[in-house]
Symmetry: C2
Subunit: 508 residues, 2 copies
Amino acid sequence: MEGISRKIFLEMEAPTEEDSRSGQQRIEDALAQKGYEDVRLTLKAMRSIYPLCDEAGWEITVSLAWNGNNWMVVGLEAGDMTGNHYGIAVDLGSTTIAARLLDCSTGACLAEASGFNRQIAYGTDILTRIFYCKDKPEALEELRQVTVQSVSEVTKKLEEKTGICAQSCIQMVVSGNTAMIHFLVGMDPFCVFSTPYAVRADRPGFLPAADIGLPVSGYVFCLPGKSNYLGGDIISGMIDTQLYRSDSVCAFFDIGTNGELVIGNKDFLLCGAGAAGPALEGGVVKTGMRADKGAVDRVWMENGEIRIHVIGGQKPEGICGSGIVDLLAELFLHGWIDLKGKLISEKSLKIQKKGEMYAVEYAPGLFFYQSDIDEFVRTKAAAYTMVECMLRESGFSMEDISRFYVAGAFGKHVSKESAIAIGMYPDMERERIINAGNSSLEGAAKLLLNMRFLDDLEEILEKMIYIQFGAIEDFLHIMVAAQALPHTDMERYPTVMERLAKMNGNKK
Amino acid sequence: MEGISRKIFLEMEAPTEEDSRSGQQRIEDALAQKGYEDVRLTLKAMRSIYPLCDEAGWEITVSLAWNGNNWMVVGLEAGDMTGNHYGIAVDLGSTTIAARLLDCSTGACLAEASGFNRQIAYGTDILTRIFYCKDKPEALEELRQVTVQSVSEVTKKLEEKTGICAQSCIQMVVSGNTAMIHFLVGMDPFCVFSTPYAVRADRPGFLPAADIGLPVSGYVFCLPGKSNYLGGDIISGMIDTQLYRSDSVCAFFDIGTNGELVIGNKDFLLCGAGAAGPALEGGVVKTGMRADKGAVDRVWMENGEIRIHVIGGQKPEGICGSGIVDLLAELFLHGWIDLKGKLISEKSLKIQKKGEMYAVEYAPGLFFYQSDIDEFVRTKAAAYTMVECMLRESGFSMEDISRFYVAGAFGKHVSKESAIAIGMYPDMERERIINAGNSSLEGAAKLLLNMRFLDDLEEILEKMIYIQFGAIEDFLHIMVAAQALPHTDMERYPTVMERLAKMNGNKK
């Protein structure tokens, strides 16, 4: 493992009158012999030389942390402790913080934990949090502390699971979107969402963990961002998927609160971001909810009846993203909604007029409204259009995409078939659609274990060209075409046409 | 001025939607255009980008601090503040702390201040302080804090004198002996005085000032030491005198609590340290005192009478180093003591039997005892022997010395003629004996203003060969020869012989 931290066992001679080099010099010389030149000691490490080295008979293990330019000795231990070499990778999400404690000598994941981002108390929506502290340094400091505390709580869980305290981990790699990194560092993130979208800092790099207030002994490395909407979490996804090393063209789509898209290969990387997400997270839909206990996460039809699966097996309380996609796909495939997504009331008694509009009762007492459908169709159209426009910009087409990565919780839970049926994903070979999982966390973990990726970050950032979807002249035009189910141009969805034909055949 | 800090005025374009680079990136790019590549921002600097840059119309001044490997942006200010570029040089003495506030753009010294080292409360003698905290981390922390506080008090005085607060200074360079630097950094300094004399750290380098607890915005650079007894104060003296660049052989002698000696030129540097000092500081002599109010600092004879000068013009309370050297020289030249330094009671009524031994009354009620003289003669013999032995080791002789630097308060106050008369200084052309003043402070100031000296430090440390005087076989033998006044080998002191001859001639 050639990560951004090292543990090196040094067997040194105890000082004698003939060789009275200082403790510091002995350590530096011993490290130089092992190929680590120009290593510096932190104040804390210097202070711990005595009595530790004497007591350990000058057989000690040093913890080295890369600070972006140099190796720094950030800790000393008696004896050979090279086997205890740990680090932490963190995905700092706006809702959930996920972290992993890694054995940096084997690369093994020793534990994973997650917890809520306590910023939620300041607004479930990021914008509310941002307005809370806009130009109010005390409020910003409050949110900074809450962010640090939230990360610390998750690392505490790792500690409880493994018995390894965070302080004995050397480095921490944090991946998060630009606003989250602003909160963590303590910078006013209003810039992320306001014109001209020039953020404060997008490459904070290696910052002393003690300065940030996080418990590891070395540095906190925040993955750099490309732009306001394209943050370190996406860059981390690049590291994870190695898209920038691919010979063939790949797409990487992170669908969450926002949608972020990268299309490219070893020769080019186009990226963009857009409001493709909200409806998918259940935030816009009336009975929408997060994928938590009580959420309908699977929907299918049997004998003209809607069947559901509820997380936790309890009474349904609402519907989450994967449930919505299933529901729409089933409604469409069974003809309860037409190509434009309009509910056809005569198709079922479950479709009822609720106030001004129609709605379908997908679970006892829970309704999915026409306005919800319309919102969702716009969302999926936006997502599809982002992919289409960006491909066009790159000179490639859907057929050229060898791998279509879908990152995040959405990609993990959504049924590929349903997402294709409603024209959200392109109609391609199913095995080419890859659930990238929490690629933000995966990338952070990989970087922790392999410092070569630091150079790759430079390469990625340099290669990336940010496409302003708003600047694409016919974006809206293309999106309107994508607002049909699965698409106005049905030729693009041969397998969906087949399913529809089969369904209609069955009916006959 | 090419010092270890810079102030750079950056006129940047405000962000636009077309150029939405982050504030951090704009600063880094603007610095790169001025030739500062790979500059990183500290957490504090990153946090201050907003609202400062916006408010300043993106015309800002950045403070750059060298951290030993890179330039770090440690502060931002609105507008062109390049004229306000300050730094602090400190001589951290065991008794006195002297500091200078420098204008780093012109090199001008804006103020100098000094104050006591509060460690004195833990013992006037360094050893007492060291024993106080030996293996007691809490006591060590107490002394560390006292040291930091003492330095801060002196910088506070600079602030009062100039109106420039220490926080608006970028870098601080501290020069001090090895024990003082251990105290400042917070390392147990017992090692400095105990076998095998391997210290904890002799090259602490650039440490974040905030971590040390000192008020500048960048780093505290501690001058490196060569060995336990040859600390950063002497290395700083090398920078000041440029001895290591000299074509001809020079000697550098710092006579204080200890005596530290360097002999060399651009080709070699021999160094050593020995107990040459205590008697010179008035510590060992019964009525000895520091060169303070009430101290006899000048002594001469007129018509067979001892005349004195007292600091502050008041009633004499004791005698300091320069007074002692004058007194001994006069006693010797006037035949009141013989070649061996023995008082000749019949020479004057001022020479009286006090208890077991003779003593000379140099001021009303103040006596200089035979034992004081003996102690002092041993001291001056040690000093002379150090020079002689080291010259012999280097293959040179007294005649080869082109410049003989005497550093510290001793060199400043002692009369060259008197020091030669008693054989403490070699008998050489007077203008070749140079009072180097507080070369420890001078060197620190020069380094602050010229980063080339950082490379020179490497060269100096590498070139320096430490001579253990204890390991020189005939050191004691040579010292015994030097215990005569001015020396057993009178040939070495032609001008003293002349004076004696003249005196005797006058008497005839």
